[in-house]
Each structure stands twice: as structure tokens, then as C-alpha cells.
């Protein structure tokens, strides 16, 4: 276990380094992205541009610029080109809404994904299975922005039940916090409910044909116990992998949903920074997001070893 942690930490550092270098390079090769030019404004004199270039170090060699920026990101001194705000502080502000959104949506989609998958699989071929299949496929096919807008139109503008967006701190008012997040949660969860229920359904149908399920029946276990202890237990392993990867990726910002509901989270910040080609927040957010992806990857491996005793930590997969 200790060895596993050390190896994983080394791997994580390597991935984060590669991701940051790539982001930095991409930003520096895309055309018309001279930040000094844009910071100086439309009718800037060449002198002003030159001043800014020198002040911000844009004339230094790229590796030097990269190191400077990384140093600033990790010491919390990094300032954005656009609006000159403290990037790390702004990201920390976004953690509240983004994490609230992701955790709430994850609870929703795991609950309904597993429930629908279970119901579909145990009644495969029946009416309920067919209905749930249609629902799942519809959920997967509908773009997130469409679901979000449709919900807004009907539940907010027409029915006036839920607020249209914005974020209220949990500490301020738990009720309003939930009210404001209700629509974003549902919007974000719909796709995942669809995917997870389908994956679980097919895993379970495969598992039902396994010899050990026949053994379980031959032992005289009740159908419910056969399903929960032998079919479900084994079918959940791949779901855990999926969940870790999806959830880790979302913590770096659920861009579309945050933008629709003006949650002022990390995803929305990423979106604005990208439009402005604002490198410092892009770098910081990319690293932030990549960190969670890598972290959850490691957690998935640990969960795997726990869920499947044939897997041992620190050994290559067979």
C-alpha cells in the first residue's frame, strides 16, 4: 500500500507536469494571442505594448515564462491578464458552487442510474425495461444545454417554481442553496443516469449467465439475495471505475451547466478565461482539473482492489 502511494504520487506529478507544459505550449502557438497587445487595448501605442511586454516578462524565453507562471500558481500570486484579478482566489471562490453542483448531481445520478439499471436488468425484455431504455437513450442523446434551457422555460419562467440560477452559500441558507441548485443538479445528472443505467443493465445481464449465479440459485438463495449479493455486487465494479473518472473530470468545472445557470463556479470561470485567451487562469484551472482526474484515478484503483480481491495494488493487471 505504501509503495503504491509513492508510485502513484510520482505518476501524478508527471501527469500534471505534462498537462501544464502542453497547455502552455498550445497557448503560445495559437495565432494572434500576444497578450501584451490585447492588454494594451485597441488603439495602444507600440511603446505601451513594449512596456507591458517587459513588465509581464513576455519577451523572456518560453521555459523561463513557464517556470515563472508555475511558481506563481503554486505560491498563490498569479494574476490574470484580463481584469488583473487573483486567479487562485477566484478559483477558490468557484469551489463552493462547482463542488455543490457535482456532489449533488453525483448523488442523483448514482441513485437513479443504479436503480434504473437494476430494474431494467431484473425485468429484461419487459415493459418497464423498454420504457427505461427509451428514457435512458433520450437522456443520453439530449444535449445538456437543451435540457437545461427546457427545464428553465417550464419550471422557472412558466411555472415559477424554481429560481433561474445563481448560487447561494450552503452556510447562508441550506434551503435556498438546494433550491438554486435543483435545476443544475437534474440537468447535469440526466446524461449520466442514462449512461450508468445502460452500463449496469448490460453488466448485470452478463453476470446473470455466470456459473456462480447458477451456484447461488442451486444453494437455494432467494432471488433477491442472488441479485443483490452475486449479480449486483460483481456488476458494480465497472460502474465504480466510470464514476471515479466522470466525477474527477467534473470537479474541474462543469462548464455548460455552470454557464446556463450562472453558478459562478470553476467551469464558468474556465469558459470566460478561454474566450479571453487568458493564460494564467487557464493554466491554473487546467492543473486544478487534472489534479482531480489523476486523484480519482488512483482512488478508483484502490476501490478496485477492495471490490475485487483478485486485484492487488501495485501489481500490473493480468
Amino acid at each position: 500500500m505504501g509503495r503504491f502511494v509513492v508510485r502513484r504520487l510520482g505518476g501524478m506529478a508527471a501527469v500534471l507536469f505534462a498537462v501544464s507544459v502542453l497547455t502552455f505550449l498550445i497557448f503560445n502557438v495559437i495565432p494572434s494571442s500576444d497578450p501584451a497587445q490585447r492588454m494594451a487595448g485597441k488603439n495602444a501605442t507600440p511603446r505601451l505594448v513594449a512596456n507591458i511586454t517587459e513588465e509581464w516578462g513576455f519577451d523572456e524565453p518560453l521555459p523561463q515564462q513557464y517556470l515563472t507562471m508555475m511558481g506563481k500558481i503554486f505560491s498563490g500570486e498569479v494574476i490574470s491578464y484580463e481584469g488583473r484579478e487573483d486567479v487562485d482566489e477566484r478559483i477558490l471562490e468557484g469551489v463552493g458552487p462547482t463542488f455543490s453542483l457535482c456532489i449533488g448531481a453525483a448523488v442523483l445520478w448514482m441513485f437513479f442510474g443504479v436503480l434504473f439499471g437494476y430494474l431494467s436488468a431484473t425485468r429484461a425484455g419487459g415493459l418497464l425495461d423498454r420504457v427505461l431504455t427509451i428514457v435512458a437513450v433520450a437522456g443520453i442523446s439530449m444535449p445538456v444545454f437543451l435540457i437545461g434551457e427546457v427545464l428553465l422555460v417550464y419550471l422557472t419562467y412558466k411555472a415559477g417554481i424554481l429560481p433561474s440560477g445563481g448560487y447561494v452559500e450552503l452556510a447562508e441558507s441550506p434551503l435556498e442553496w438546494a433550491e438554486h441548485l435543483m435545476l443544475p443538479w437534474v440537468t447535469l445528472a440526466v446524461v449520466y443516469v442514462g449512461i450508468y443505467s445502460r452500463v449496469l443493465r448490460s453488466n448485470m445481464l452478463d453476470a446473470m449467465n455466470e456459473d456462480y449465479v447458477r451456484t447461488a440459485r442451486a444453494k437455494g438463495l432467494s432471488e433477491r439475495r442472488v441479485m443483490s449479493r452475486h449479480v449486483m455486487r460483481n456488476s458494480l465494479v465497472p460502474i465504480v471505475t466510470l464514476f471515479g473518472l466522470d466525477f474527477g473530470a467534473l470537479l474541474g468545472g462543469a462548464i455548460v451547466v455552470e454557464a446556463i445557470f450562472s453558478l459562478n463556479g470553476i467551469g464558468e470561470y474556465a469558459y470566460i478565461s478561454l474566450i479571453n485567451a487568458d493564460l494564467p487562469p487557464i493554466m491554473a484551472i487546467t492543473l486544478f482539473g487534472a489534479f482531480f482526474v489523476v486523484l480519482f484515478n488512483a482512488l478508483v484503483d484502490i476501490a478496485y482492489a477492495y471490490l475485487d480481491p483478485r486485484v492487488k495494488l501495485g501489481e500490473s493487471a493480468r
Binding site: R3, T215, R318
Partner: protein, 550 residues
């Protein structure tokens, strides 16, 4: 005869399929007396497994139509509601299956799975009590250190131990009837012998009535009291062990018994072969580094092949016998240049091939071909039989178009298939036909050497004989040299000029087939021969008495 424990009358099971109704079981009746071992023998598709599974209500396909009656004491099992059947399954009738690896749930501990079985029927038994019982059960089936093994996961046990665990689980509630469906088919012979002894002991000591389902007459002769022979859903022959073995009345039974290749009977002598050496192997070693992750180097390597040397003469058949893990497969792959040996020499037709680069190995590849165990898994399911056979011809670039088809058809003809099979996909062929396609494919590049890795162990006995005859015929016609790899020394004796016995990465004995089988010099060979079940009840009884019952 005492009152029947289980009484099956006119059992019929039909499955509705796309191609019409398949009558899997067609009017089967039998009685099982307390304390007897009843063997149901048949080939694949005979309906023997469906019969057993239907009795305990595990044939629950919505397409199945079940008729007839199966009474366990006072309880009618067919058509009983689920709650009744749950009470019967595991408690009064227990079942063990062919493959102990897949029959245990891999993610739960063996002990937990036994405890689960106990508590499903005896809710009042505490977990601690059930666990104590599980340890006792594991002990009673001969699992060493049961207090520790109870917490093992299935993959931590060997195949034989897993099957003992399955038996322990089946015995957990002291059932009246045990149904064993091919309980030893997936096991090595020496392990099979142990499991059969265990089943025999349980039957004697506990009076456990057993239905033994098998295709193997050797297994039957070792443990059964009575036999039913099934064919195409019907019972074609029934009687006591001696009746069926020594005076079978049904032609199908006689055919099955004649097709059995016995290790204790010499085959007709084969013409002596005094050819030159085609393959010379010297001190061949293949070690695999211990699998333990990057940071655990220095652990002792797995010695898969540990210093093997032999010679294979042109036109001869060398049988290579060994149990799983003996290194047979690794040896074959090293001989064919598919893996690089750690050290040693392999000379093929006078040329050193160990350590040859892939590019220089390629022209030699066509001269050594392989026939695999499972013809279904080794043929591409999306290609037609003709295409499969034509592909190696096409790769040689000697023929195209109609000529290619003609050559492929000729090869199919040589293995006993015809034009009608050319356009069939593997799943549209029977097991025997598939293996014929596999052989035709191996013949296509006109090889000198064919390595046949368990070529008949997935086939039914009657088909096995046909394939072995075909291989012998092709050997004569094409002057082929065979390395015939198998775990079944009975089969090997009947096809080989010489036999090499492999154990723990070494060849422990090599010599003329009859000599190795009749006068083994190595202790392991002796053990192996003694473990082979003999399809001869009188001999089996004699052997049991010599060994002293246990």
C-alpha cells in the same frame, strides 16, 4: 430395493428456438434409491445436464416447456412454486458443477459463501456457528488448514481445492441427494482421482444418494452403482455397472464403450519409424520473472520449462503428457519460436531457431503448424470455413481466385468436408467439423511438423476417434511429424510412437509408448497412470481393494 428417494417419470423438456422446437429431454424416467450412485452418461447435447437442472428447477428459461413428474419423497418438484423449490435446493438436493473456478463467486470468501448457504435455510444459526460449521465441512472434504482456508478467496485455492470447497458447500445442509454435473472434467487426472475418492467416501459414510453426470466411462466405473446412458434426450440403456459395461444391449452404448481409448490396453502396433531427426531440443529453459510488480525484483523466477531435451524424428508422433502447469504449453510455444527461450537450443531441420529474429523466423513458420484445443475459439467466427483454409495459401502468394478456391476445397476434401462446408461459418459447423477445418488450415502451408495441443480433449468420444483416425491418415499421406500434446495419457498412448512425460518443467520420462505405459520408470509417471480411471468396473474394484479403500 428400498423405496425410491427421487422418482422421475416421463420428463420432457422442450426449448422453443428460432429454428423450431428442440426436444432436449424426451421422456426420461428413473428412480434414485437412498445411498446409491447413479451415473447418467452421454455426449454433449444428450440432455443429461438439462435433466438434472430441471429436477431442481434451474431450467427457468421462458422458452422452456417442461412436462412430467419428479418426486422427492412426498414433494412434487416440477411445477412447484419458487418458495418450495428454494427450500429443496441446497437443503435437500445439492448440486456441484464442472468448473469450480467459475462456480464460486470470485469476490466473496469461500467460507462466506458456505455460511450464506447454511443461513439461507437455517436462519436461526448464528454467523459464528455457521462459520464453525464451514470449517468442519472444509476439514471433512480434506482441505488442509481449514481454519485459515475458510477466509480464502476462490482464486487463492488450486482447482482441486476449489472443487473440494464446492463439495463442502453442497454438503453444508446434509442434503438427501447430491447432483454432480461433470465434477472432475475440468481437473487434472491426479486431482480427479482424489475428488472421485472423496465422492465415493461421502457416499459410503453418509449414504449420500448421488446422481453423477459425466461423459467419461472411466469415471463411471470408479464410483457408480447404476448407469443410465442418454442419447438425444432419451435413455437408451440402463442397468447395473457390470451389465452396461460387460453386456451392453444398445448399439449406441456399444459404440461409446468401443470408442474409449484405454491406457491399459495396447493399441495395434505402429510401423517403426527410423527417420532422421526433424527437431532437436537441448537444455531448453524458459523462466518467467516472478510476477510481483516493478519493485519486487529478485524473487525467484517461475521455471516454466527447466532444462528440456529430446529429439523428434521425421514421420514419428511424440506424445507429450503432463498436467496443468507442467510447462507443456510453454515448451510448445518455445519450439514454434513464439516465445524466446531463456537458454538452450532448438534445431529444426538442422537449423538453430532459438533466438531467431521474427523476420528470419517467418519462412520457417509455415513448416511448423499448430492444431488447437478449442476449435471454436481458435477459428475466426466472422470468416467462412473456406476462407479460413484459403488464407495461408493466399499469404504464400502461389494461388489466386478460382485456383485458390480449388486448393482450399481440395484441403477440405482431405479432412472429410465438402463443397457444402466451404461457405459455412464456424458456428454453423459441429465441434468435429470445426476441428477438421482447424486441421485443414494447419495443412495448408504444407508443414513438416504439426504441434497438436489437446486436439481432441474438447470433443465427444465418438468424434474423438474420427479425428484421431484422420490425423493418422494425414500423417501417412503427407509424411507429417506430430508433437501430440495432451493431458489424457490414454489418448496419447493410442496415437504416439513415443511418449514424453512432463512434470514441473522437466521431462521426467521419455520412451516408446508401450514401455512408458506398462513399465514406467519414473515415480510421477506411475502416479499419473494409477490416477487414470479405467473404464472397467471389475478392474476398478480390484484396484480399489489393492489401495485399501482410501
Amino acid at each position: 430395493m428400498s423405496e425410491a428417494l427421487l422418482s422421475v417419470r416421463d420428463l420432457r423438456v422442450a426449448f422453443a428456438t428460432e429454428g423450431g422446437t428442440v426436444q432436449a429431454v424426451n421422456g426420461v424416467s428413473f428412480d434414485l434409491a437412498p445411498g446409491e450412485v447413479l451415473a447418467i452418461v452421454g455426449e454433449s447435447g444428450s440432455g443429461k445436464s438439462v435433466t438434472a437442472q430441471t429436477i431442481i428447477g434451474l431450467t427457468n428459461s421462458p422458452n422452456a416447456r417442461i412436462e412430467g413428474s419428479a418426486r422427492l419423497g412426498e414433494t412434487e418438484l416440477l411445477g412447484a412454486d419458487e418458495a418450495t423449490m428454494r427450500g429443496v435446493r441446497g437443503d435437500r438436493v445439492a448440486m456441484i458443477f464442472q468448473d469450480p473456478m467459475t462456480s464460486f463467486n470470485p469476490v466473496h470468501r469461500v467460507g462466506a459463501q458456505i455460511v450464506e448457504a447454511i443461513r439461507a435455510h437455517r436462519g436461526e444459526v448464528s454467523k459464528q456457528e455457521a462459520r464453525r460449521r464451514a470449517i468442519e465441512l472444509l476439514d471433512s472434504v480434506g482441505i488442509p488448514d481449514p481454519a485459515r482456508r475458510v477466509d480464502s478467496y476462490p482464486h487463492e485455492l488450486s482447482g482441486g481445492m476449489r472443487q473440494r470447497g464446492m463439495i463442502a458447500m453442497a454438503l453444508a445442509l446434509e442434503p438427501e441427494v447430491l447432483i454432480a454435473d461433470e465434477p472432475t472434467t475440468a481437473l487434472d487426472v491426479t486431482v480427479q482421482a482424489q475428488i472421485l475418492r472423496l465422492l465415493g467416501r461421502l457416499n459410503r459414510e453418509r449414504g449420500l444418494a448421488t446422481i453423477l453426470i459425466t461423459h467419461d466411462f472411466g469415471v463411471v466405473a470408479e464410483v457408480a452403482d447404476r448407469i443410465l446412458v442418454m442419447c438425444e434426450g432419451r435413455i437408451v440403456e440402463r442397468g447395473s455397472l457390470d451389465d452396461v459395461f460387460y453386456s451392453p444391449t444398445d448399439p449406441y452404448t456399444r459404440g461409446l464403450l468401443n470408442a474409449v481409448l484405454r491406457v491399459d490396453q495396447a493399441p495395434p502396433p505402429r510401423a517403426a519409424r527410423e527417420g532422421q531427426a526433424l527437431l532437436e531440443v537441448r537444455d531448453l529453459v524458459k523462466h518467467y520473472p516472478e510476477r510481483g510488480g516493478m519493485l519486487r525484483r529478485g524473487a525467484s523466477p517461475v521455471r516454466a520449462v527447466d532444462g528440456v531435451g529430446f529429439e523428434l524424428r521425421r514421420g514419428e508422433t511424440l506424445g507429450l503428457v503432463g498436467e496443468s502447469g507442467s510447462g507443456k504449453s510453454t515448451l510448445c510455444r518455445a519450439l514454434l519460436g513464439l516465445i524466446e527461450p531463456t537458454s538452450g537450443s532448438v534445431r529444426f531441420a538442422g537449423r538453430e531457431i532459438a533466438g531467431l529474429s521474427r523476420r528470419r523466423m517467418r519462412p520457417l513458420r509455415r513448416e511448423m503448424q499448430m492444431v488447437f484445443q478449442d476449435p471454436y475459439a481458435s477459428l475466426n467466427p466472422r470468416r467462412r470455413a473456406g476462407q479460413i483454409v484459403a488464407e495461408p495459401l493466399r499469404l504464400q502468394g502461389e494461388a489466386t481466385g478460382g485456383e485458390l478456391r480449388g486448393q482450399a476445397l481440395e484441403l477440405l476434401g482431405r479432412v472429410g468436408l465438402d463443397d457444402a462446408h466451404y461457405d459455412r461459418y464456424p458456428h454453423e459447423l459441429s465441434g468435429g467439423q470445426r476441428q477438421r477445418v482447424g486441421i485443414a488450415r494447419a495443412l495448408a502451408p504444407r508443414p513438416k511438423l504439426i504441434v497438436a495441443d489437446e486436439p481432441v480433449s474438447a470433443l465427444d468420444v465418438s468424434i474423438r476417434a474420427q479425428i484421431l483416425d484422420l490425423l493418422a491418415e494425414l500423417q501417412e499421406d503427407f509424411g507429417l511429424t506430430y508433437l501430440f500434446v495432451a493431458h489424457d495419457i490414454g489418448v496419447v498412448r493410442h496415437v504416439s510412437d513415443r511418449i514424453a512425460v512432463m512434470h514441473k518443467g522437466r521431462i521426467v520420462e521419455i520412451g516408446p509408448a508401450d514401455e512408458v505405459c506398462e513399465r514406467p520408470r519414473d515415480a510421477y509417471t506411475e502416479e499419473l497412470l494409477a490416477a487414470v480411471p479405467v473404464p472397467d468396473p471389475r478392474l476398478a474394484r480390484e484396484r480399489r481393494q489393492n489401495v485399501g479403500l482410501e
